[in-house]
């Protein structure tokens, strides 16, 4: 299976950031996303970038991997920048290239929006790089816990998430296996007209669905056999703890917010 298809690209590196409570990471990212939109001066953007880049280095993950994870969004960032360059027509003209006028505001808008974009995606990708999917679901369950009072199915949601994450690799293996078996029986997935190729998917999809349903049934039975009856009164194997590391991070983040509001225009 190609590595680009991996989901939840967790890379173990045992850094400070890896060891943080996943709830801390999610909360910090949530507030970071909010405060990014308050920045409006060079200094404030500088502070945010410093925080994001600093966190990236603190993960001890090689920069190459982090940038590789951002690959699909480089295009989007460049596109946003160019769009602003061409569409915004405010401020003074600072250059003229072949009769096309470059406005000052266009340049500023383009760079700030792209930078915001970059910061948001970079920070959120740090979450998936340093946190296992199971930790993320645990954290989500806990964070959504208070909403249970309003009949919000936090536990069920987390369970669904962890089950689907667990079965992604299994289903991918199954797909590969069945497509090889059908290719051996003469199915051609790669060439032929569009209609032919759609038709070629049926021998792949039917067995895949059949086995997925079978697996679901078996899993449900195995869970019931082991006494699963929902989240009520269920204890946890992995308990989440807020420790001194998390307080350090919260402290740093409060400093960042204070710095941000001081450097705003």
């Amino acid at each position: 299976m190609s590595s680009s298809m991996m989901i939840g690209q967790y890379i173990p590196a045992g850094s400070f950031i890896h060891k943080l409570d996943p709830r801390t990471k999610i909360a910090i990212i949530f507030f970071f996303v909010v405060i990014v939109f308050f920045a409006n001066s060079v200094m404030s953007y500088g502070l945010l970038t410093l925080f994001a880049v600093g966190s990236a280095f603190a993960t001890k993950i090689r920069v190459r991997y982090i940038l590789k994870g951002l690959k699909p969004v480089w295009f989007l960032i460049a596109f946003t920048f160019l769009l602003h360059l061409f569409v915004t027509r405010e401020g003074e003209v600072i250059a003229t290239v072949f009769g096309w006028e470059l406005y000052r505001e266009a340049l500023i808008q383009g760079s700030t929006i792209s930078l915001r974009f970059f910061l948001l995606i970079m920070v959120t990708s740090l979450l998936t790089l340093t946190t296992t999917p199971i930790e993320i679901t645990d954290a989500i369950e806990q964070l959504l816990g208070p909403f249970k009072r309003f009949r919000f199915p936090a536990h069920e949601l987390a369970l669904m998430m962890s089950i689907s994450l667990r079965f992604i690799p299994t289903l991918m293996q199954e797909t590969e296996k069945i497509s090889k078996a059908q290719a051996s029986r003469g199915v051609d997935f790669r060439t032929g007209s569009f209609k032919d190729r759609i038709k070629a998917v049926i021998p792949l999809l039917v067995p895949l669905f059949v086995s997925a349903f079978k697996r679901a049934e078996e899993l449900a039975m195995a869970m019931e056999a082991r006494g699963y009856k929902g989240g009520e009164g269920r204890t946890k194997l992995r308990e989440l703890h807020i420790g001194w590391k998390d307080y350090v991070v919260y402290g740093l983040f409060i400093l960042l917010m204070a710095g941000l509001f001081l450097t705003r225009n």
């Binding site: 199954e174 296996k177 051996s184 059949v210 086995s211």
Partner: protein, 290 residues
């Protein structure tokens, strides 16, 4: 069809942190009509090897020849379709590949993909279903209503209906009860003789390798560890055990007889009854000396 592997290597995800050398410089050949057993521990490269036989994967280095078809590293073969028609592969748990509404349609799926005429397909479907010992009444049923063993047979019939020259079997009896296992293996042995197939069997069962194959290849970490006639191979107990393989029970037992009674009985595929007779004679003969 003659099958030749010439210094074949295969690497999964080359130049990445997940790089894995599944086959390393593999060379061997066997001639048309032979029944070859490929044995090896999990992860020894058996499955990768058989995927070379019908071009599902291409060697990273070296070349594979199946009859007049050649798969060479870095070269695209344009006749893959023909090759796949000639080489039928029964994968592990083949019942997972069933998808049609009726057994008949599923068996006909392979041949119709290869452009066989309708009349011909009808004929082949009937032949295939009887070859796997299922009645023709089954043809109109849904494959999903059948029992596990029956589904397995239908899936095998689907491969047989392609009328291949080479039959590749990846643990075809895994998960069946002992009787079902024997029936299926006997069926393959019969087809092998009847249709003069070249058969490649991947198996964990030393008994099957001894009973059905005329050539054995033992793989270890993607390399050929031992190769030769089954009787020769299975004599080397230590060599087998060092790759976590067992000696077949019969051979083990005859070895035991040789050690305790100091009498040699050579194994040539005798049945248990025949062996018992021979053994009785040896024991009696031994007493005569006293």
């Amino acid at each position: 069809m003659d099958i030749t592997f010439d210094h074949v290597s295969y690497t999964y995800q080359p130049n990445s942190p997940f790089e894995h050398h599944a086959l390393k410089d593999l060379s061997f050949q066997f001639s048309s009509g032979s029944f070859v057993a490929v044995i090896g521990h999990t992860g020894s490269g058996k499955s990768t090897l058989i995927q070379h036989l019908n071009g599902l994967v291409q060697p990273t280095e070296g070349a594979v020849s199946i009859g007049s078809y050649h798969l060479q590293a870095g070269k695209k073969n344009k006749k893959l379709r023909e090759l796949r028609e000639k080489v039928g592969v029964v994968f592990q748990y083949p019942e997972h590949q069933l998808f049609e509404e009726t057994v008949e349609k599923d068996i006909a799926f392979g041949p119709s993909n290869f452009g066989v005429g309708e009349e011909d397909i009808k004929q082949r479907t009937k032949e295939a279903i009887s070859a796997v010992h299922l009645s023709e009444d089954m043809l109109q049923r849904s494959p999903f209503d059948l029992s596990g063993g029956q589904m397995r047979r239908v899936a095998i019939a689907g491969v047989l209906a392609m009328d291949p020259d080479v039959l590749v079997l990846d643990e075809p009896t895994a998960g069946l009860d002992p009787r079902g296992q024997k029936e299926i293996m006997d069926m393959f042995a019969r087809l092998h003789k009847q249709k003069q197939l070249t058969t490649v069997l991947v198996t964990h069962s030393m008994e099957d390798a001894l009973n059905y194959a005329d050539h054995v290849i033992i793989l270890k970490d993607g390399e050929v560890y031992k190769e030769g006639a089954p009787l020769e191979i299975f004599k080397e107990k230590e060599a087998l055990q060092s790759v976590q393989l067992d000696v077949p029970e019969v051979i083990e037992f005859l070895g035991e007889v040789e050690r305790t009674l100091d009498e040699k009985i050579s194994y040539q595929g005798q049945s248990i009854a025949e062996l018992a007779k021979e053994l009785a004679q040896v024991v009696k003969g031994g007493r005569d000396h006293e």
